[in-house]
């Protein structure tokens, strides 16, 4: 059974009601449970758990340190293209935005790689808008071998692909795929995705299964926090994660928890996720899943990022650019969204060391593909 079949059986209204009906007793049971399941995650994401934030944080810290030690993986996004054939009202790359469009040439790509390597990174996230004719499998197949020469770990965040396309990229050195559902609530999803292939909720929902079938090492899930009720979206992502872990046990999993940021032509959040709410969400997922990797991007403010780091985060970016060619030529107004933490990678690494965390630049073998 595909997750989309399983998902159809879920009654979202009923789940939402259960989520908001969780009591202090439910939360305490979840906190005391030696092994946690989806019902425990529900309790930990519920409003009732907000009174237990310190206990959750303490446990999240302990679990993370035991599982990952003091290590935080360092990665950087490299934007390949801002071409996009979708209309998404929260994204700067949206097709109707009057934005100068650009796809990196080989020379531009190598120039970006050179700068990123100088900063010490060995783990890279290739990002593009979703334009399958101009920035599709042929382009990725061309780019990946170039990138893999310089980085041990290569992830992509691009449009959903077919299983055989993922297989071809794995053979060229692909290690991870980030594919964010944005929201697991179909009505909200339809409202925000009004043109292009991204309108297909189910095709996107089943992408992680195609990724896992192709033998990709790590799969990243995510929701864009603010499009709708974050508690329910987070819970549904937990269902998705549980399904994938049970069926595709060889893959590693990560989640990303981006809050909606200002962008060209972008919408304002429907439901604001406060700092307290984001802390609750990170801790809830860490308590739910000890081995889950949790990524934190530069969308968050520096001081807040510093405080989040010990609570369950395992991977961070630093000194990021969100525009194609942005490392070589910054501030050309081609970016996807505004970043909030503009500290360089070395500044971030030094900050981490002062709070007892160890920045890890390399954690993979290039030849494992």
């Amino acid at each position: 059974m595909s997750f989309s079949d399983y998902f159809k059986q879920l009654d979202l209204d009923k789940l939402s009601m259960q989520l908001y009906s969780c009591t202090a007793n439910d939360v305490e049971r979840a906190l005391a449970a030696p092994q946690r399941d989806i019902d425990h995650l529900m309790a930990l994401l519920s409003p009732a758990a907000s009174a237990y934030l310190e206990q959750m944080a303490q446990q999240a810290y302990q679990i993370t340190r035991q599982r990952f030690g003091a290590n935080i993986g360092m990665y950087l996004p490299l934007y390949l293209s801002n071409l996009c054939a979708n209309e998404c009202d929260y994204c700067g790359f949206s097709m109707s935005n009057k934005l100068k469009r650009k796809t990196l040439s080989d020379d531009e790509l190598i120039a970006e790689i050179s700068i990123i390597k100088q900063r010490g990174f060995d783990s890279i996230l290739l990002v593009s808008g979703e334009h399958e004719t101009k920035v599709g499998i042929d382009y990725f197949s061309h780019v990946l071998p170039i990138v893999k020469q310089h980085f041990s770990y290569v992830a992509i965040e691009v449009q959903p692909l077919k299983t055989e396309e993922y297989q071809a990229l794995v053979a060229l050195g692909l290690d991870a795929v980030m594919v964010y559902q944005e929201t697991y609530q179909p009505i909200t999803y339809a409202k925000h995705h009004t043109r292009g292939k991204k309108q297909d909720f189910v095709y996107r929902l089943t992408t992680p299964e195609r990724v896992a079938s192709a033998g990709v090492d790590k799969i990243g899930l995510g929701v864009l926090l603010g499009l709708d009720d974050w508690r329910l979206d987070a819970l549904l992502m937990g269902y998705h994660l549980s399904y994938l872990e049970r069926r595709f046990w060889r893959s590693r999993y990560s989640i990303s928890l981006p809050r909606l940021r200002p962008c060209t032509g972008g919408v304002t959040p429907k439901v604001e996720l406060t700092d307290k709410g984001l802390v609750q969400m990170i801790c809830a997922f860490r308590l739910f899943n000890a081995q889950l990797e949790i990524s934190l991007s530069t969308r968050e403010e520096p001081s807040f990022r510093n405080n989040l780091l010990p609570l369950g985060v395992t991977n961070i970016s630093a000194g990021s650019s969100t525009e194609p060619g942005g490392y070589q030529n910054p501030n050309t107004q081609l970016d996807q969204f505004e970043i909030s933490d503009e500290r360089s990678a070395s500044e971030m690494a030094n900050t981490m060391r002062t709070i007892g965390l160890n920045p890890v630049w390399k954690d993979w073998e290039k030849a494992w593909c």
Binding site: G69, A70, R250, R353, G356, K362, W368
Partner: protein, 254 residues
């Protein structure tokens, strides 16, 4: 003295390097532990640099390095990592770790035996990390492994010797050293492993993630020594009934 392959060790506490907050803390803990064999993951080493934050200080410290293949999911990947280690670090020693399951990091017996066979034929000194499976340990001994490293419980779990009955069988049957690796979370558990007759233990998480790694390293060093001495002294047998210290039939012997 513990002999593994061509090398002798005074310390029976082997240590890891993976979870410390910084290099200084790691070096202080390793130094205090008096460990003479330290394992490190090849996937963490950046061989393109002249100075690696993890590798270079360990080399300067003078301990014997045991490169491991953590991260490898197949025999092929592990063999590659071992060959890389031999080429770059000049050692034919390898801790063979193959775990395709990222959740519990359980070792893959099938891939491990396959990789061990190849690596032993290629002249490596192979120390495989395996489940506490007595038959598998015998098979690994047959293909030429220098030691076996059965787990006490899942890696990093601090659950101690959950596999104790099987470890006892492995220790009883082995003709090569048995190093209990994974899950040892307290000095008392390390002590127990040594009391059972294990030749050594490998500890990482319990030291690295403690509030005071250097102090914890001392505790483990002492516990391992105590456990070993207790084993050599010979533990009394365990019975369900009381044993009189002054037997009633002693008069028959006089």
């Amino acid at each position: 003295m513990l002999t593994i392959a061509d090398h002798q060790f005074e310390s029976r506490l082997f240590t890891g390097t993976g979870k410390f907050s910084d290099t200084e803390t790691m070096l202080a803990a390793l130094s205090t532990s008096q460990s003479q064999l330290v394992t490190l993951a090849m996937k963490r080493i950046d061989l393109s640099k002249n100075f690696d934050d993890l590798l270079t200080p360990l080399q300067e410290m003078g301990v014997k390095l045991l490169p491991n293949t953590a991260g490898a999911r197949t025999a092929k990947e592990a063999i590659f990592a071992a060959e890389l280690a031999r080429e770059m670090l000049g050692t034919n020693w390898v801790k063979l770790e193959i775990h395709p399951d990222p959740k519990y990091l359980m070792p893959d017996a099938i891939e491990t035996l396959a990789a061990a066979s190849v690596l032993c034929e290629k002249g490596f000194t192979v120390l495989p990390y395996v489940h506490a499976d007595p038959v598998l340990c015998r098979r690994l001994e047959e293909v030429g492994c220098a030691a076996v490293m059965p787990l006490g419980s899942p890696i990093g779990s601090n659950q101690g010797l959950a596999t104790e009955p099987f470890l006892e069988i492995i220790i009883e049957q082995a003709n090569i050293p048995v190093v209990i690796d994974a899950g040892i979370g307290a000095p008392s558990q390390a002590c127990r492993a040594m009391e059972m007759g294990a030749d050594a233990v490998l500890v990482n998480t319990a030291i690295a993630s403690s509030a005071n790694p250097q102090h914890m390293a001392t505790c483990f060093k002492d516990a391992v020594n105590t456990g070993r001495m207790a084993y050599l002294a010979g533990l009394g047998s365990v019975t369900k009934h009381a044993e009189h210290t002054s037997p009633l039939t002693q008069f028959l012997e006089s």
